[in-house]
């Protein structure tokens, strides 16, 4: 009986830790350099089906922290894709994307960056 309780407690603690990790950690958007493609070569607009705001997450996971809510029509620069998620930079005039790095680096600002479900994006250019 004691073993069973301990096991259940362990599972609960592990789940809570995993949940906390999912919620609290950040997966930076990467500026991916490749032999063929320039970094962040797609421009999209936020196009939620219900016209409401779309959540920008800290990681490519629905369980991660929401960084921002983007209005329909907001422009984002798509830098990478992970499953159903796109790693984006919210377009501003001075996002300082290092197009010439020649190697993959984490984007560190100044523009807001994060993860959005790819199905909430509409292709504009690229």
């Amino acid at each position: 009986m004691r073993t069973l309780v301990a096991g259940i407690a362990l599972v609960i603690v592990a789940a809570a830790a995993a949940g906390y990790w999912q919620y609290s950690t950040v997966r930076p958007v990467k500026l991916v350099a490749s032999e063929y493609d320039d970094v962040c070569g797609t421009l999209s607009k936020v196009a939620p089906q219900d016209g409401a705001m779309a959540a920008l997450h800290a990681r490519p996971s629905a369980w991660s922290r929401q960084i921002a809510h983007l209005a329909a029509g907001s422009q984002v620069i798509v830098c990478e894709v992970s499953g159903e998620w796109s790693g984006v930079i919210v377009k501003d005039e001075a996002c300082q994307i290092d197009h010439d790095a020649g190697h993959t680096v984490d984007y560190s600002g100044p523009c807001v960056s994060g993860w959005i479900r790819s199905r909430l994006l509409g292709l504009l250019a690229g």
């Binding site: 063929y36 320039d38 070569g41 421009l43 010439d100 292709l123 504009l124 690229g126």
Partner: protein
């Protein structure tokens, strides 16, 4: 007099019909030459060509010449090469003057109010639209800021057996030729079947300007921030291998 074009870049144009230190200059890729007489020796064709702005008479090897293509197809290849040369064979970048302005010209070809100063707006599809529009003879082409729009339309045209300037084919169905387009996916894998049913996905296409033994050479825009070459491998039968995320080839029907 017969019109021909250089098969490669930096083709030697010689004073006399032989190898040696008799170079008058070099021809750029696809440059036009006028063959003026019969072959001499095992390969040498008498010809005139523009060298450093002047028309010069000399000799060029027949092994590095090709026949002209159809009007629109030749015009498309020539336009790509012209832009490539304008960007100093891909050595000059989009953020330098006056090349920024050239990118602005590409945007204007599709009616977009962009001047090339915003480096965060990818202009590769605008380049394709600019080249196709400037070449002329491609009525019905889907001019767009995103490659996937015209790729989808070309594939639909092929599947529906409809008349269209380009047909989108699987890479196993068509050997790439001059004036065709090679299309590859970006970030997330795309198949030919997906492109046939969707018109919004991340892609990139380049235009074939040279077909060699084991590869095709293309010219595209926003390639390493310039108008630049890319090599795509072909197999012994002349088909694209798919290396480099290639998922379709757009056959030029003009």
């Amino acid at each position: 007099m017969t019109k021909q074009h250089a098969l490669a870049d930096h083709v030697n144009f010689r004073k006399t019909p032989k190898f040696g230190s008799n170079r008058l200059g070099s021809l750029h890729l696809a440059q036009e030459v006028n063959v003026t007489g019969a072959q001499q020796g095992d390969r040498w064709m008498p010809a005139t060509a523009a060298i450093d702005g002047a028309t010069v008479s000399g000799f060029v090897s027949k092994n590095v010449l090709r026949d002209p293509l159809s009007g629109p197809r030749e015009a498309l290849v020539q336009e790509c090469v012209k832009q490539w040369l304008r960007f100093d064979r891909g050595k000059r970048k989009e953020n330098e003057q006056p090349f920024v302005r050239f990118v602005g010209e590409f945007w204007q070809s599709i009616g977009m109010d962009l001047d090339g100063l915003d480096r965060d707006v990818p202009w590769s599809a605008a380049f394709i639209s600019f080249a196709v529009r400037t070449a002329g003879g491609y009525n019905g082409f889907r001019f767009a800021a995103a490659h996937s729009r015209y790729v989808h339309k070309a594939i639909r045209a092929k599947l529906d057996n409809a008349s269209h300037p380009f047909w989108g084919l699987k890479i196993s169905e068509h050997k790439p030729e001059l004036g065709d387009m090679v299309c590859r996916w970006r970030s997330s894998k795309i198949t030919y079947a997906h492109a046939a049913t969707h018109e919004a996905f991340q892609s990139h296409c380049d235009i074939v300007v040279q077909v060699a033994g084991d590869h095709v050479l293309t010219i595209g825009g926003n390639v390493s921030h310039s108008v630049r070459h890319t090599r795509y491998k072909i197999n012994a039968r002349g088909f694209l291998t798919g290396e480099g995320n290639v998922y379709a080839v757009l056959k030029n029907n003009r």
